[in-house]
Amino acid sequence: MRAIILLPILVIAAATAYQGFFPERTTEPFSELAILGASMKIADYPRELRVNESFTLYLYVGNREGRVTYYSILVKLGNRSNFINETVPMDAPIIATYEKILMDNETWIHPTVLSINKPGVNLRLVFEMWIFDEALQGFKYHGRWNQLWLNVTAPRPPP
């Protein structure tokens, strides 16, 4: 009899104590990086472009790190020979940088209009995520990257 009445009260007390003294923590912190096409979907990416032809992409960044985070997204233009993976950023020219500070669980979608002024085949437009590291006093490559393969052809000669 006593146990039947005591049990629910004790369960409620344990839940109260847990919520009060152990704040919610992110168990698996991570960040999201994505490139969306002109229609803000994971589609409609440019593939064949003319020199100096503008194209629109949307940058998507999501913070699930469990803390406020300072992001820097570097846009680089390389080619097939440039190496990149989760630990090594691409050694190629930076063509744009986007910086944003995001709260935990906040996402950011940012429009970006780019154009390339030289022809090339199998060019890689790479978006790298860097995060401000207090210990380093600077940005550190976070291992997240996306890429688009582009063929850029010379403009048509005037008739």
């Binding site: 009899m1 009060g20 846009v75 090594v88 950023p89 020219p93 063509i95 429009p111 154009s115 600077g138």
Partner: protein, 168 residues
Amino acid sequence: MISIMVVSSSTTFIDRTNTMISEAAAYALSAPSRATSSSVATIENEEARGKIIEAFKAVADAEEKGGDVIPLVIELNSALDLIREAEFTKDEALMKEALIGLDEVIEKAPKVGQQGIAASRWKQINTIVALGIEVSLALIAYIYAPQAFWKIWIKVKGKWRVKAVDGR
């Protein structure tokens, strides 16, 4: 071993940023986006860069203490946008405005942190009070519940009569 290599590589890389941007300028260009600027270059004003980092650290610290840093983050992002715009348009007044904004964030952040600590203390006090009430309820139930239950049972069913049923 690998992580040490990454750290050193990233540091070197950031240091080369400006050189690489000028290299890239010959190759590709980025037109202004809908927001404040094209962000072709990273923030070059040393004072602004230092203040952004200082403000970010202050905000991160305030958040760790449990403070509500949403308004500070909004202010910080506005200052970032203003700095980019000021560098793009070479507008001194805008830069000044952005630096004032950053100073405000740096000034407000410790107060927000203190508010966070106070809120967290208040939450702990609430928890202790709630726990006290729950434990008291448990004790009262443990001592008086059986007695109360049987009292109620007798009140409800005390006048019932036992009747023999045929066939049993």
